[in-house]
Amino acid sequence: MSDFISRGFRGHRRESGDPSRVPPGQYVTSDFPVLSAGPTPHTRLEEWTFSIGEGDGRRTWTWDEFQALPSETVTVDIHCVTRWSKLDTVWEGVSVDTLLAEAGEDDAHPYLLAYCDGGYTTNVPLEDVTGGKAWVAFGYDGEPLEPEHGGPARLLVPHLYFWKSAKWVRGLALRDEDEPGFWESNGYHIYGDPWLEQRYAGD
């Protein structure tokens, strides 16, 4: 590894912030960086649906039906595996607890795989999206969620690295095993706890 240092180079300001709020190895940003593995989908609301489950037990909502569900506004900190953290972000969405209850799902399947427009997937244990820990969010900072940030709706699971908060989410498939999604199949950690710095497989 080279010891070379570029004289006078600092890059953007990187504040580590309060360690009780900012996980190890992260810096606080006031921007909202846009990261993506592919082109931004533009699904029309008339065509948008969200589903839980598969086959006969599958429950699907149209946009209007989804909007009629009880939703809440939450303020959370988010942590991206590329090292930026953003504090006090405000989202509006439907709790995954609500969706699972409406779908009549019990905890028979301990894992789920979120799937999205554009083909992105990510896996999360059921217990990490229940008990008030996750939402399907359609509003950010008081406005409808913009396409580049995952609109019409994205999964929001703020206690895990933000790659788990899948943009353009269209449904949750229930699984008996923890099936790795896109980044998890490409070297990233299967679980992704920022407080344990679980960035890569084997961390």
Binding site: S2, F4, I5, S6, R7, G8, F9, R10, G11, H12, R14
Partner: protein
């Protein structure tokens, strides 16, 4: 000059900044002394890597503006919210060290053996690799018709302007944001009509190189294909908002 065939793995190496030259208020050329440079072709780029004291690293790619046979020079546009370009255009000084690897590229390259006529279409700082091609053509005395269509925000933002005006190549400017008094040239973004007027007829079998921001490149390339250019004759290189690529 014999074409340097670049095979084999590149390594990061430390170059020294030999000279800096401001091209426009936002654009600077850095002439570099690279100890183990294998030579380069017109159109190639190099990767620059900056390391801060805390180990933070940032990497970007920049096109080489100098022709084969001359010292390596990159031309960098400063982006307002950039992380690397402000450093390269404002902080870096003659005598400083810069870590880089290159040359890179085997597709977006032109040399005399590739013939012409040559149509070069530049969006903003996308002119840099195309300038290497024009300088190569000029320095080697290559008798191939060449035309550059160069889209820029204002006349002040045109890079290499004096040199372009003196080159034996047709240069067509379009100034999209602001034009000087008395300007009689194009004053809008490149569109199908403008391209149809400027491009060589497809029957002349031109070689085309288009470089600039992604939407610009896609509009231009798509239009040229509609004008009858075979897709394989139109080579493209997209620059990103992160500076260079």
């Amino acid at each position: 000059m014999a074409r340097a065939a670049v095979r084999g793995r590149l390594s990061w190496q430390i170059a020294t900044v030999e000279a800096v030259a401001d091209e426009t208020p936002r654009v600077r050329t850095l002439v570099l002394d690279v100890p183990d440079w294998a030579g380069h072709r017109a159109g190639q780029h190099l990767d620059v890597r900056l390391t801060a004291e805390d180990g933070y690293r940032a990497e970007r790619s920049y096109s080489i503006g100098s022709p084969p046979g001359e010292p390596v020079a990159i031309t960098v546009e400063r982006l307002d919210d950039g992380e690397v370009s402000p450093y390269l255009t404002e902080e870096l000084r003659t005598g400083d060290a810069l870590e880089l690897r290159g040359p890179i590229g085997g597709y977006f390259v032109w040399g005399p053996e590739d013939g012409g006529p040559l149509l070069l279409v530049a969006g903003g700082s996308g002119v840099v690799p195309l300038m290497a091609m024009l300088r190569h053509r000029h320095a080697a005395g290559i008798d191939v018709p060449a035309r550059l269509l160069y889209s820029s925000r204002t006349l002040e933002d045109v890079i290499y302007r004096a040199e372009l005006d003196a080159l034996d190549a047709e240069v067509v400017y379009t100034l999209t944001r602001e034009q000087p008094p008395g300007w009689t040239g194009y004053a809008r973004r490149v569109d199908a009509e403008l391209l149809a007027e400027v491009a060589w007829p497809a029957e002349q079998d031109p070689r085309v190189f288009v470089c600039g921001p992604t939407p610009f490149v896609e509009t231009v390339a798509g239009t040229l294909v509609e004008l009858g250019y075979p897709p394989q004759r139109v080579k493209t290189e997209r620059f990103g908002a992160t500076g260079g690529r």
